[in-house]
């Protein structure tokens, strides 16, 4: 029963991800005085892409063809680790947060390989940029996450969230730092505006788009879907760790429905914040990304320090 519920939760996660991307696009359009497409537009795009014939370069190896499937399934597996509407599900309890980071790194590794595989200049450039950014984002993310896991004294996300919920409202300075660090890392990792621009194919600004330039058809659909999943994954991570209220602790129908409403509300608000920040800030130069991410690392480090200094029992 619980396993069935865990599978259902993952399927729900995967099916909701394009909706979140569409909603963010809507918010951005409203803020920029443009006419917004329907929030369901990403579904239509994905459907259309699956009907198109994928074109594969004759120089591409087998890696190029299987990479989208690996990327999508690794991201989907990462999603299973995160509690979406209920805590204490078997899949979430079986793997901890370090496995989650590992899954994301695995997906990124294959994305980068696929970008390099065709041998175009863009692919190589995007791949090297992606690796540079991720090598700085990952320590910052782990630092922020260690702060939380030290508070809950478990690296398992599900148990950590349960611990935070049972504690009730406690103002922790370390969580403020960890939240800020995780937001900065999420912006960098999902390729949103101060770091990368998801909307353009302008060669100077591309990171993620440069790598997937050669993809088409259902391969492109899978990669797009995986990146939407990753965006939602970070959103859920931020919403459910720092504001876990509303998640279902018991597995009754009403609690689950309430949990679903809560997470959709939280993600909706986060999406509005993201859209506002993307409208307010300009994309920064690539060489300033290092400063941005080292600031995120510093915040994570301060969170860890203030956990030890301010909160640890002695």
């Amino acid at each position: 029963m619980n396993i069935l519920l865990a599978i259902l939760q993952t399927l729900l996660f995967i099916s909701l991800a394009p909706l979140l991307a569409g909603w963010i696009k809507c918010c951005k359009c409203y803020l920029q005085n443009r006419k917004a497409p329907s929030p369901l537009q990403p579904y239509r795009d994905l459907l259309k892409l699956t009907h198109k014939q994928p074109v594969v370069s004759k120089d591409a190896s087998w890696l190029f063809v299987i990479a989208p499937y690996i990327i999508f399934s690794a991201t989907a597996l990462a999603v299973t680790v995160i509690p979406l509407i209920a805590v204490d599900l078997p899949t979430a309890a079986s793997a901890d947060v370090i496995v989650l980071v590992g899954f994301l790194a695995f997906a990124r590794f294959f994305l980068v390989l696929a970008g390099l595989d065709v041998g175009t200049a863009f692919g190589g450039m995007g791949a090297s940029r992606e690796m540079t950014i991720s090598s700085m984002a990952e320590p910052a993310m782990l630092m922020a996450i260690f702060t939380i896991t030290m508070t809950a004294s478990t690296t398992n996300l599900s148990f950590a969230i349960e611990h935070i919920m049972q504690e009730g409202l406690v103002l922790r300075p370390s969580f403020i730092f960890a939240l800020l660090a995780l937001i900065l890392v999420a912006v960098a990792e999902t390729g949103r505006i101060p770091v990368d621009n998801p909307a353009t194919h302008l060669e100077l600004t591309m990171i993620h788009e440069a790598m997937i330039l050669e993809y088409s058809g259902r391969h492109l659909a899978l990669i797009e879907w995986a990146s939407q999943l990753k965006l939602m994954l970070y959103g859920v991570l931020i919403a459910n760790i720092f504001f876990p209220w509303g998640m279902a602790e018991t597995l009754t129908l009403s609690a689950l429905g309430y949990g679903l409403l809560a997470i959709m509300g939280k993600l909706g608000i986060l999406a509005v914040l993201l859209a506002v920040s993307e409208t307010l800030f300009a994309k920064m130069r690539l060489f300033r990304v290092q400063e941005f991410l080292s600031f995120a690392y510093l915040l994570g480090l301060l969170g860890m320090l203030s956990h030890i200094i301010l909160e640890a029992s002695r």
Partner: protein, 225 residues
């Protein structure tokens, strides 16, 4: 004692202390002067909040007065004055090139650890809030000094100096529940006079070496070389 056993006011004061330290770090990395002054004002505002909460939770009404003085001086008057100087000297478009920002930030993080390490044996017997708030205010003082070392502009030095004073004020508020009123008024006037004097100095430095970059003072010599 764990943080979840403290009452909400102490948690709030600790969170504000952490945020004050964060503003010190942001100031350390800030090359634009107007933004530096704005963050300084923000730090002052967080300090005012912390003082007001301390006044309420320790039931110490004279802390409200010192909160009001801080609000008037450090949140409104001094930032306004610095801002006016920056605009008048036409420096608001300059971005100071800070050498090796990341190393300075990491140095700041180690200063936080150092201040905690120094205060730990002294405060072994006192309450947790006191120890943490004191070590964070020592960290703010040291970070203010680091700000003065790492920046070249005279205005940034003034901001660093004032943020050292912020750290001292915070330490006094949480550890002794406020200094005597006379002392506090005296310090407030000192800060006020210092701010006005700094303004005059800015004009003099600017007219004599045509810049507020204090590194250029190294070139001043009695003998022509």
């Amino acid at each position: 004692m764990d943080i979840e056993n403290l009452d909400l006011y102490s948690q709030l004061i600790l969170s504000l202390a952490a945020l004050v330290t964060l503003t010190s770090f942001i100031m350390l990395a800030q090359g634009r002067l107007l933004r530096l002054v704005f963050i300084f004002a923000l730090q002052g505002f967080l300090l005012v909040l912390a003082t007001a909460i301390a006044a309420y939770s320790f039931n110490n009404p004279h802390l409200y007065i010192s909160a009001a003085i801080t609000m008037a001086l450090k949140v409104l008057f001094i930032p306004w004055m610095l801002r006016r100087h920056i605009l008048k000297l036409n420096m608001h478009r300059d971005v100071e090139a800070l050498s090796n920002k990341t190393a300075v930030m990491m140095g700041g993080a180690s200063l936080v650890m150092f201040s905690y390490y120094v205060l730990h044996p002294i405060m072994q017997n006192s309450s947790m809030v006191l120890l943490n708030a004191l070590s964070l205010s020592l960290a703010v003082i040291l970070l203010g000094m680091l700000l003065m070392i790492s920046h070249h502009q005279a205005i940034a030095h003034v901001v660093g100096f004032m943020s050292i004073e912020n750290g001292l004020f915070f330490a006094a508020t949480v550890s002794t529940s406020g200094m005597p009123m006379v002392v506090e008024l005296g310090i407030a006037f000192d800060v006020l006079v210092a701010a006005v004097l700094f303004g005059i100095f800015f004009l003099h430095i600017n007219s004599s070496i045509d810049s507020l970059d204090v590194d250029k003072m190294n070139r001043l010599n009695e003998v022509d070389q």
